[in-house]
Structure formats: C-alpha cells, structure tokens
Amino acid sequence: MKTKEEIFEVSIPTVEGDAIAYKVPVKIQLEWDDEIKQWLIGPEANKLIEDTKARHLGLLLPAQFKELRERYGFSQKEMGELFQVGEKSWTRWETGKHRPSRSSNLPIRALYDGEISINYLLKQAGKPPMKTAEPTVESVETHLHNWLQTVLGSCHLTVDMVYPENTVKPVLMESKAETDENEFHLQLAKLAFEEHGMTGVQEAEAMPKPSQRFIIAAPTHVYKQPRLCTQPTEA
C-alpha cells in the first residue's frame, strides 16, 4: 500500500473547551486508496492524532488505564466501581474506544501519579484497604519500562534495560524519534539518565565493576516524576 507522511496540526482546546489554545504538529501517515483515488487517514494515524490530544489535555492514554488497573490487580469492573464510573466506561477508556472527560480523568490521573492513595479511594468506596507489597527489582523495572513506554508513547522511543556483559549498568538505547516533540521526550529520558551519571551509551571505562549491581529503583513512586533513581548494590 502506498503511503506518505504529512504534518497534522492537532488542535488542543482550552480548559473551558470553547476555543483552541494551541496546535501541536504531528507527523502522520496517509494511505493511498486505489479504488477511490484519495489519500486517507486510517485508524493508526487517527489514534496518533487522538493520543497526542489526550496527552496534551493531561488525559491518561488507554495503555495507562490498563497499566493502572494491573498495578493493583483489579478487574475493569472493580476499577469502574472504585471511580464510580461503571465498568463500561472504564473498559471503553482502556480500549481507547472512548476518552474520559477532564473531570473524570482527574482522580484517576491523581492515583496514577501517586498523588492520592489507593486506600483512600477504597475507603471512599466503602471497601477494605489493600496491603501494599514491597516492590521487587523485576516489578520496578517493569513499571519503569511501562512508564517510559506510555509517557513517551507515541514517539517510538526504544528504552531497554540492557546490562552489557560484565556489568549490569543500564543503557538507554537509540531513539527512532524525529519530530520536535519526540526529540523533547528523548531529551527528557536522557536527562533522567544523566542525572545519575549515566549517559545514553556508556563508555567502557565508566562501567561499574562487574561485582557491582545497579538497580533501577523508584523509592517513592516510579510514576511520580520523570526521574530515574539508581542505587548500586552488591551482586
């Protein structure tokens, strides 16, 4: 199928929703339709447009809804009950069929960002509190990876927890990003790495000793801010 790239200026509305606050250029792919002799916008390009708008509105993306639910091991029905929005709405948000309103999104975003606790919400819903499990290295790494993938989502940033031989120091892998927005996200990830003395690709002499183990950890909340925390431990 013939395709071409085009810049689509995504309109971001004001908080009141009655005007356009600013526009964000996004590179989308149009597909040529031979039968009707037209370039068309298909589902993938449309998703990119709508995800960009959602991110700029501060709305959680579908993958983030799922990630939040899985963080607590809840069903869609339970999440619908927790936020008093119903299972149907939650499922639609999680699958991307619908988007939440800003007001519905607010408490969900607050939980996602760690600004309110799950037990506070459970209490409000008249449910017993959860026992929070201690995070494991695996769970933190998974969360971190998911976080980068979802926050940086549409920029196709490839972040991989690579531990080169004889070290376990993570390396930030290359980015396929090309647009300004994606470049911004890439810089964000690089900054986070560099803050902890880790550049995108580590120099050999800067590698830690083989016996040293680096754990990517998030002491307070891995989702709270774009910051990676590393701590050396013994292997």
Binding site: P13, E35, I36, I49
Partner: protein, 125 residues
Amino acid sequence: MAQQEIPLEWRKTVCAILASDDERLIWWEPTGRKRYDAIPGCDWTYEAHEAFRNYLSLPNPTGCHKVMDEPPGETYDFFFQFKGRKFYGKILLRTDRKRIVIFSAHLPEWEKLSCEMEDDKGKRK
C-alpha cells in the same frame, strides 16, 4: 432538487459500520478530518460517529445523494446535530458496503445542501 429521505438500506449499513467499533472500517478524508479537529468541542472522532448514528437513526432523515464519477460508492450529504449545533456531514459507503469514508463533519459553510443549490440555479435559469 430538494432534499430526499436518505434510503433506509444505506442508513442501516452505515449505522452498523459506525456502531461496529471496528476502526478499520471507518476512514477519514484528511481535509475533512482537519476541519473537524479544528472546531472547539470536536476532540474525538467517535463523538462524530455517534452524532451521525443519532441522525441517521431518526425516522426520516433527509439529505442529498451526491452523484460523482469518483469515488465509486454511494455518498450522501446532510445536516445533523452535534453537541447542540448544526453540522454538515458527508459520508461515502464504499462499493463493498462494508467500509465508509467520512468526508465532512464540520460547521456548514452554506445554508443549503448541494442538491438544493442546484435546484435554485435551475429556477434562476
């Protein structure tokens, strides 16, 4: 020619596609998509899909049959209500009758649809 009732079969097929939740069946013409996006309150395409369905599910919705060499398929344009405002819509039902292309979903540029304007031109002659 005045607006005519949009044929039930066309409406049923289009509504079924719009209700299918299968994004692969609903495509947008780029200019139409941009115009929709540029209107405050038109944030998500599923809202336009729902508004289309609401209008086309009314007992006797009217519109104009667009006669074009291309694209092949059956196209109607019509006015519909979107969040309390009058909108202009134009949808192509493709020849396979399984997919649609949305050409327009925006505030109307004209008071009348294309077929009504052709009618006016005819009267002036």
